[in-house]
Amino acid sequence: MTDDVVLRVLAKQMIPFILLFALYVQFHGDYGPGGGFQAGVLFGAGFMLYGMVFGVTTLERLFPGGAFRIGIAAGVLLYSAVGIAGVLLSGNFLDYNVLAADPKAGQHMGIIVVEFGIGVTVAAVMIAAFYAFARPKA
């Protein structure tokens, strides 16, 4: 928690744009540089900036740590679920061609969902680890 007015105002202005940019990197990764890994870290960085400027306890009151512990597993499960969906639709594990009628549409859908799973896990790990490190000592 900092009392520096400049830092507080600047952080408040920047955090929405950081989170928005993270979402852009996440969902525009098919067309430009980026993807789940980068987006997850950027999203986590937005939370960390808030935690560093306004205090981890304030951040934790808004977003309890348990949610991120679930998120860590949820991303991996989402990724694997796409793989298993391919098997259930009589393809191979992580075969996206069978996800939609058109193989290309299937590829697109599979990649978007899988990248989202990566983003969720990475962001959740970043934020949960930040909580673990920065939480005031009990």
């Binding site: 990197v25 990764g29 098919d30 067309y31 430009g32 540089p33 980026g34 993807g35 890994f37 980068q38 870290v41 950027l42 986590g44 960085a45 960390m48 560093m52 512990r69 860590i72 597993a73 991303g75 991996v76 990724y79 694997s80 793989g83 594990f93 992580l94 996206y96 193989p103 290309k104 549409a105 590829q107 697109h108 599979g110 990649i111 899988v114 990248e115 799973g117 990566i118 896990t121 990475v122 959740a124 790990v125 970043m126 949960a128 680890a129 930040f130 673990a132 490190f133 920065a134 000592k137 009990a138």
Partner: protein, 180 residues
């Protein structure tokens, strides 16, 4: 032009690395390693690898710096002065010399017939767009062609996260018991 940029960036990298080794104040070391990552990211940009550069800038310069600062806050701000160990010094020198010797058998920088360029790479580049419909070939390779590898990577991140959480939870419990 790009070659001059390469040399400048590599020189700055070496200077930063020497600074990291020489400095004793750990906060400064953390800041310098953040700068090191940013320089590496710039180098990746010069090498036309924006995906890798974005990752390096976000992970190395951003997240890792914050986590290292957290570690410094939990432990100590000053590095202990280590005494000179001849055996360790010898191991480091020999390993370094072996690595430098190993680079001599690598293909020249950007060679067309390098193994990385003639294996599956050309197929991804020529057929990737037709097969996946994704313009960014890096994403297509990462999420589709190499989807199983990437699943493994995510599981690695999961296990790393679980490991950190378990280690630090243990620390907190021990402290809580001591406090009671």
């Amino acid at each position: 032009m790009s070659e001059i940029l390469d040399y400048v960036l590599l020189l700055l990298l070496a200077a930063t690395a020497i600074g990291i080794v020489r400095l004793r104040g750990l906060i400064a070391v953390v800041m310098l390693s953040g700068i090191y990552s940013l320089l590496v990211a710039s180098l990746f940009i010069v090498l036309d690898a924006p995906d890798v550069a974005l990752t390096e800038a976000a992970v190395g310069a951003g997240a890792a710096t914050i986590l290292m600062l957290g570690t410094v806050a939990l432990t100590t701000r000053e590095e202990k002065r280590a005494r000179f160990r001849p055996v360790s010094f010898l191991v480091v020198v020999v390993t370094g010399l072996m690595l430098i010797y190993g680079t001599s058998s690598l293909p020249p920088f950007g060679a067309e017939d390098a193994p990385a360029q003639v294996h599956v790479g050309p197929r991804y580049l020529t057929e990737g767009y037709e097969q996946t419909g994704v313009p960014n070939i890096v994403t297509a390779v990462l999420a589709s062609y190499r989807g199983f590898d990437t699943l493994g990577e995510v599981v690695v991140i999961l296990s790393a996260g679980v490991g950190v959480l378990m280690l630090l939870a243990g620390r907190r419990r021990a402290q809580g018991e001591k406090g009671q």
